[in-house]
């Protein structure tokens, strides 16, 4: 229930999935708890509540963030996208579809965080952001292939205890490939699925 405004509460407006929500929040409330307990957006999961598992990953101003380490009052004015906001109506986002088709999950509890993270990974990679797995980080090297190793490195903040990692990497690779406009083919292209198949 919504407590009455007091020195420990503030009315804030959150921009979530393109909708504005005005609500009084306890200053101690995390963004994660505001989503789950106050706005009934329970797709964002609480796995550890201390920033270690990635289950609560959402997109804030287009970048992934763990919503358990962010106070709701600090999220005012930011553009927040949760798992409930990534599909286009009935059409699943390509990452969602790939997780569904390739069984990139088991219990499903880490899945919203994995999917939000994967969406940002694909964008970060396409924008040329390097990771610890990137072989050549010189600016002139351009965008390196999104290999399975790159995906594993970039997705490592999202734990999956069921151990669905292999399928998740395949799903991210498939969605990334679908997102890329067909190019003249520099380098060896997307290596993830090939690497899996080569075992």
């Amino acid at each position: 229930m919504a407590p009455a405004p007091s020195p420990t509460y503030s009315a804030i407006t959150l921009n979530i999935n393109g909708e504005k929500h005005t609500l009084p929040v306890d200053h101690r409330t995390t963004l994660l708890d505001a989503l789950r307990e106050r706005l009934d957006l329970t797709g964002t999961k609480k796995g550890c509540d201390q920033g270690q598992c990635g289950a609560c990953t959402v997109l804030i101003d287009g970048r992934r963030a763990v919503s358990c380490l962010q106070l709701a009052v600090a999220a005012e004015g930011r553009v927040i996208t949760t798992i409930e906001g990534v599909a286009e109506g009935e059409d699943l986002h390509p990452v969602q579809q790939a997780f569904l088709d390739l069984d990139g999950y088991q219990c499903g509890y880490c899945t919203p965080g994995q999917i939000c993270s994967a969406i940002a990974v694909i964008e970060e990679h396409a924008a040329g952001w390097p990771s610890a797995a990137t072989q050549d980080v010189r600016p002139e090297a351009g965008v390196q292939p999104l290999t399975a190793e790159e995906i594993r490195e970039r997705m490592s903040g999202n734990l999956c205890r069921c151990g669905a990692y292999v399928s998740i990497v395949e799903a991210v690779a498939q969605a990334a490939e679908a997102a890329q406009p067909p190019s003249g083919g520099s380098g060896d292209g997307n290596g993830a699925t090939e690497a899996e198949a080569a075992v």
Partner: protein
């Protein structure tokens, strides 16, 4: 209309890949787990756990906390409702860890001492953290070791099996392996924390929970609170992983106590830290394996002694020494599971209880024996295939373990392997490959199911099954479709509601097999009723099943799933880092209902084996008696970057005595995987690692000299 089955030729669904029937809900965030169902007037409970490892509660200073904003009540041993702790449930008497607040005794660090309930989670948490509990502390003992004077053989007659003269056979053997292996305390660490919301609704207790068996939890709660089973309903639609931990735990009991006192719905969600002390874990083990073989590698002596720990309030035995009872025979054969009670939380079932740590020790020891005999590890195992159960003497229902090895060897490229260790180098990495066998019991337990032919031409299946990520909901949909000879899209699969009646829990690799049997039986009965013809009334036509009699009539046999694990590792001798480069698992595990989800489940087990081999280790502080870093940073489970390509396959192996041919695949995937990795590390470096996890410091201290084995 008239509902028909089997009129048109319908392609069988069992054996074909089917995406999860609840998949869309899971990828869109629409699937609601236990802590996510909205309730009007919901209050929030927060547990307070002990900070001492042994002693008595002198005072719970609740008055200042009760005056804090939003606080509704503080429950503790001085005011909590009395419950029955002497009842007998599915697994015997309850662990006193769940009969909350009935005593002032504190038997371990992290023991529940109070529940604070408030209007909001923030208020409950702050009040719980502010609650002062005073203790009279007593000395504690949490130091687990093989030499502990309290180690004893439990009274259970199945703790030990013995035939022949082990000492004489060892003395006469051409080759002997005698080694000690250890595994650390390991945790389930499923992603969804335990959560329950309880309320009284029209005289019935309703609990929305995250568990592995709604009827199991309903039965335990009914007994503990002295209620009729019919007045308790437990629902558990989506479960974010279980792995053995999600039975009756303090959160459900706390929620039921609080809703009974407050007359409004109460939700209790455990914190990640609390999960480390009150939701069970796998005991550490010390295992001594003694093997004696003749010049051809045939086992003449087989000894496996395992020690695990338990709490002082409840006995749970990690039965590591059971592994060889079904797996390997010898003229002299001795297995024993011992236990020591310490001032620690109660351990419990964790994925492949017994077999996971037992297979690490035994399948490592067999690799050592193969090395000493100059035999290929697969040839050694082929030479020691038993005709019948080594202890029981019973025939195997099927045992295709060597077929798994042969198929695996072909796919892995095992024939090209040079058996000598420490020879392959690639830059800073030493490379090696290893293999190990896998096995896990295959059983079925009595269950009931109901199948309804609806007036609209669809079918509704009701069974108190649980889908904890296994894919059971999808597999049962396929099984029901085939049994009714209709498309899976015509099946509504409803599970995880205790009102549907008694059924097996999701555990012991028995869930899907047990439920499939009941669903198949009810569908058969329904088809017989529908064959009589006539229109379907508005409420449908329902047939019910109970498999107790059929399962009771099963012949006594050794029934198990089997497998062969392969791993390739790279070891950095400068940093001590071990990287697994690829894994392959081939399984003989009954009929595979859904290849898509089965592959995920078997692979998931292998990821657990990798995680067990290299990462997982809960550390207990001997001075304070509690964990060091009980969270997902302090307790590392395999992450994306740790997990290489993992290939999974199977050989055709339907169980001849099961209506669907199922054996069970939930646990066999982890078994042997850690041993295959440890054996690969030996092949890479020449050093035997007998202590898990194979941490960088252990690799560094051991060096790479062949024979420089890690025994401490």
């Amino acid at each position: 209309m008239t509902t028909t089955t089997g009129t048109a030729a319908v392609t069988p669904s069992v054996g074909t890949a089917h995406t999860r029937v609840e998949g869309r809900e899971k990828v869109t965030g629409a699937a609601r787990y236990a802590g996510e169902i909205p309730f009007a007037d919901l209050a929030h409970g927060w547990l307070v756990v002990s900070t001492i490892a042994r002693g008595r509660i002198r005072a719970v200073e609740s008055a200042p906390v009760e005056a804090m904003p939003g606080v509704l009540t503080v429950l503790h041993h001085g005011n909590a409702p009395q419950v029955d702790g002497e009842y007998v449930g599915l697994l015997g008497k309850p662990d006193p860890t769940v009969t909350l607040f009935q005593t002032d005794r504190v038997p371990f660090a992290g023991w529940p001492v109070a529940l604070v309930v408030a209007e909001t989670p923030e208020q409950a948490r702050e009040a719980a953290e502010a609650l002062v509990v005073r203790y009279d502390e007593e000395p504690h003992d949490v130091a687990f070791s093989a030499a502990h004077p309290g180690a004893r053989k439990p009274e259970d007659p199945s703790a030990e099996t013995e035939k022949g003269d082990l000492a004489a056979e060892l003395a006469a053997a051409a080759t002997v392996v005698d080694a000690e292996y250890t595994t650390p305390e390991e945790h389930h660490a499923m992603m969804e924390p335990h959560a329950a919301t309880a309320r009284w609704d029209g005289g019935r207790l309703e609990v929305v929970d995250s568990n592995q068996g709604s009827m199991w939890v309903a039965d335990e709660l009914a007994k503990m609170f002295s209620l009729d089973l019919g007045s308790v309903r437990v629902l558990s639609e989506h479960v974010g992983g279980g792995f053995g931990s999600k039975g009756l735990r303090p959160h459900q009991v706390a929620a039921v106590m609080a809703t009974t006192v407050l007359h409004r719905p109460v939700r209790v969600v455990l914190t990640r830290r609390q999960m480390f002390s009150i939701t069970g874990y796998r005991s550490p083990t010390v295992q001594r394996v003694r093997l004696g073989a003749d010049a051809e590698g045939r086992l003449s002596a087989f000894g496996h002694e395992a020690l695990s720990l338990t709490s002082t309030v409840h006995q749970f035995i990690e039965r590591s020494a059971d592994y060889g009872r079904a797996m390997y025979d010898a003229d002299a054969h001795h297995t024993v599971n011992r236990v020591v009670a310490l001032d620690v939380p109660t351990p419990t079932f964790v994925r492949a209880p017994g077999e996971a740590p037992g297979s690490f020790a035994l399948e490592s020891a067999l690799d050592e024996l193969a090395e000493k005999c100059g035999l290929d590890p697969i040839a050694l195992r082929a030479r020691n295939e038993p005709e019948a159960g080594p202890v029981s003497g019973l025939p195997y229902s099927t045992r295709r373990v060597i077929d798994c090895f042969e198929e695996g060897a072909r796919r892995f490229g095992w024939a090209d392997r040079d058996p000598r260790p420490g020879l392959r180098r690639e830059g800073r990495w030493l490379l090696g490959t290893g293999t190990a066998a896998a096995t896990f019991p295959s059983n079925a337990m009595p269950s009931t199911a109901a199948v309804t032919a609806e007036a609209d031409g669809t079918f509704t299946v009701r069974i108190t099954a649980a889908d904890i990520g296994t894919g059971a909901r999808t597999a049962l949909t396929q099984i029901a479709a085939d049994a009714l000879e209709v498309e899976p899209s015509r099946i509504h699969m409803r599970i995880a509601d205790s009102d549907f009646g008694q059924a097996m829990i999701a555990g012991g690799s028995m869930g899907t097999r047990s439920w499939a049997w009941a669903v198949t039986s009810a569908a058969k009965e329904l088809r017989e009723q529908l064959a009589l013809g006539g229109a379907i009334p508005e409420q449908g036509i329902t047939a019910r099943s109970n498999t107790a009699e059929a399962i009771g009539a099963l012949a006594q046999k050794e029934r198990h799933s089997f497998g062969a694990q392969f791993a390739e590792v790279a070891v950095d001798t400068a940093t001590g880092e071990v990287r697994v480069r690829r894994m392959l698992g081939i399984f003989a595990a009954g009929r595979i209902v859904n290849p898509l989800t089965a592959r995920s489940q078997l692979r998931g087990g292998m990821v657990w084996g990798l995680s067990m081999a290299l990462h997982e280790e809960a550390i207990r502080d001997r001075a304070f008696g509690s964990h060091v870093g009980p969270d997902l940073a302090g307790y590392h489970v395999a992450a994306h970057a740790d997990v290489p390509p993992i290939e999974v396959g199977w050989v055709d192996d339907p169980d001849p005595d099961d209506p669907v041919g199922i054996k069970g695949i939930g646990e066999v995937g982890i078994v042997g995987a850690a041993a295959a990795i440890a054996n690969a590390v030996w092949h890479a470096t020449g050093v035997r690692h007998r202590h898990l996890p194979i941490r960088p410091d252990r690799v560094l201290l051991a060096g790479t000299a062949p024979g420089g084995d890690v025994d401490a």
